[in-house]
Assembly symmetry: C2
Homo-oligomer: 184 residues x 2
Amino acid sequence: MLILIDQDGVLADFERGFHTAWQAIGPRHGHPPLPLEERRSFHVRDDYPPHLEEAVVSVYTAPGFYRALPPVPGAVEAMAELLDLGHDVRICTSPLNQYRYCVPEKYEWVEAHLGPAFVQRMVVTKDKTLVVGDVLVDDKPDVTGACQPAWRHVLYDQPYNRHRPGARITWADWRAVLLAAGPR
Amino acid sequence: MLILIDQDGVLADFERGFHTAWQAIGPRHGHPPLPLEERRSFHVRDDYPPHLEEAVVSVYTAPGFYRALPPVPGAVEAMAELLDLGHDVRICTSPLNQYRYCVPEKYEWVEAHLGPAFVQRMVVTKDKTLVVGDVLVDDKPDVTGACQPAWRHVLYDQPYNRHRPGARITWADWRAVLLAAGPR
């Protein structure tokens, strides 16, 4: 199978990285970090009060933010296992509009956590419907774009996508759902 | 039509950028820049003597090299015309393994020469066969990867791809060849 894996929220733990960073600056803004289980919107900026938007955005557009994200527990091991099973695994990730640090640090993150050879497996695009695959694992509730996607979308479970029905996994429990259906 | 356009050698004039940079350091190495018409290999490092490989690579991996590339004459105007004609145009580009400056500077180049909205049209991937399109305009003689590509390959004419038969264009003469065949 050709398996597309989203990066942030699936491999790299954006939520935990943001939570930690906001703990450091939250007191300055009189707003503690939202507990992860209370996140409701795909974009973290939409879950904080509007007057804090600039501060929220400044956290994840700062140099070093993406590079320092911890891996989602089990993600690195799952990538190795998928390759061992003979699947073609690609990272399919959408950069921020503020690409300056985000884009190169996504590459650095993959090199640091999955190894230099995995960097060759990266596809960076705003529109994931342009990318061919049997399945896309993504935490975004609705992945849309210019094309009818070739892949089926399997949700990576996060508090902010639980309203969406359909197949979902975590790296603690993924084999049956991800691999059962087989190729298109 | 969904039209994929390679970046370096098609939109950004890698050849001219390298030639200019090598003029500055060539005397130090006792080797003048190769005239553009005498380039024979897709990878410029393969056209210089082996003992100069490190110097050649140092030119295009240096900070600022990709950002400073001049546009290929007519490329910017052609992109605007393709959009005006109602086509969906995407930039489909493969980064260097040495991604540190190359990747973010490809984004900066597109923003500077084609505008911020065009940045959203970028797809950065080592394997272009994963990307859906009706046509791919690329100067690389053979564009291969894991999939049977959906697109047909139209060569962007360069001295180093003239051995390859098939459809080819320059931005001085592209409309009939690029648009005649229509969508898949």
